[in-house]
Symmetry: C2
Subunit: 223 residues, 2 copies
């Protein structure tokens, strides 16, 4: 399980303090598909950054299974993320100087049982773009490279920040079907942020946020 | 009117040629609200880049009212865009070293009748973020700065590439209401790219694309 206990995150810039998360308690059981909904600026991406060890907590703790993540140093955190976590970032975060296939290969390199980069790229419809650079891709193509890169290492836990925001309906459906299949066949734990209520229907649990707080957790399915 | 005649755009990288647009003919009448729909990679952003003079045509012509845009040099193009056009880019394109308010002020500087930056920022809900830098904003907040920057100079023609993709339903509604009001009261010509069919309902015309071609133009309203 991923357990956030009494987590607060405050961003300080000069005099200004922004409470991005206030006293959040949240547990994600292994193998669950969790969707996070909430207005722009409500703290969804911050929640993802806290739950994945990508950023430090101002106060509170993060535990993933038996590992005390919030107590790890930078080196331990980096190794933990590499071995266990996959990310689809809201702004894609592709390496601009590597091709599509190289961006995905990098994701496979440190994995114990990686998929074939060209296979996963084919599944997201990018087989004709393998040798292009990110600046030569459309918005939705860049997003799909980001998705392929996260999936190729078959992570235990997958964090997706609006992974279909730049995709048309049909392409988005394909991607969400891949994620659902992963969750059902591989018991991959998924945390997916979205603005789209119809995507929320895919989740076992819906986590609603507002102004840095979790206001509601709805359980739709029991596993 | 904005007139594309027989426009083709080919991207070449090494041996590979990508036909991003094939022999496109399209006219947008002044004061119309036009929505572009189509799958990821179908050429929507490329169409916008061609219609706005942001990028060169491989063949064909672009005329805006009586100006032969495709015949202009770099300096004339830059001046034309500054005086007449506003842009909301798919990747926001904010200046990272300027604050929220400064990013919008820059948009106002070269305008004949600019709005007040703080006013327009308030209308998109960002009054508490004026002194932050883009990296300190959520995805949807960055998108809204991009929107405010385009609107502040009250352009004759507004090009919006998925301007609400990162926004929740309520915030997206506010933004679209602002765009509709602009179109109705100021006769601003709008070209809006979206994946969301419900947003398409706002348009006077819906332009459907697939594989670099315009496959359909539907007129929903007459003005
Ligand atoms: N580095 C930072 N410094 C200051 N404030 C920040 C920083 N990063 C985020 N914030 C603020 O924290 C709040 C929550 O941000 P977060 O990115 O988690 O929102 P979000 O729910 O993901 O929004 P969106 O749906 O727009 O992506 C926002 O108001 C944002 O401005
Ligand atoms: N600089 C470039 N070099 C090579 N190919 C390019 C370049 N820019 C765009 N393309 C290709 O042209 C096609 C159309 O791109 P475009 O960005 O117009 O698509 P789009 O409809 O906006 O897609 P999306 O909905 O994903 O944003 C894509 O297949 C893309 O890979
Ligand atoms: Mg976010
Ligand atoms: Mg695009």
């Amino acid at each position: 399980a991923i357990i956030l206990a009494k987590v607060t995150k405050i961003y300080r810039s000069g005099e200004v303090e922004t409470y991005a998360l206030r006293d959040v308690d949240l547990t994600l059981e292994n193998g669950t598909f969790n969707v996070v909904l909430g207005p722009s600026g409500s703290g969804k991406s911050t929640l993802l950054n806290m739950m994945s060890g990508l950023d430090t907590l101002t106060s509170g703790t993060l535990t993933i299974d038996d590992a005390q993540i919030s107590a790890m140093n930078h080196k331990e955190l980096t190794r933990f993320r590499r071995h266990n976590l996959g990310f689809v970032f809201q702004q894609y975060n592709l390496l601009q100087t590597l091709t599509v296939r190289e961006n995905v290969q990098i994701g496979a390199q440190i994995a114990t049982d990686p998929l074939e980069p060209e296979e996963i790229l084919k599944r997201v419809g990018l087989e004709n773009h393998l040798h292009k650079y990110p600046f030569q891709l459309s918005g939705g193509e860049q997003q799909r490279v980001s998705i392929a890169r996260a999936l190729v290492k078959q992570p235990k836990i997958l964090f997706c920040d609006e992974p279909t925001g730049a995709l048309d309906e049909a392409t988005a459906k394909d991607v969400l079907a891949i994620l659902q299949a992963l969750n059902e066949t591989m018991q991959t734990t998924i945390l997916l942020i979205t603005h789209n209520p119809s995507i929320a229907e895919l989740g076992d649990h819906i986590i609603r946020m507002n102004s840095g707080e979790i206001v509601d957790v709805l359980t739709q399915k029991n596993k």
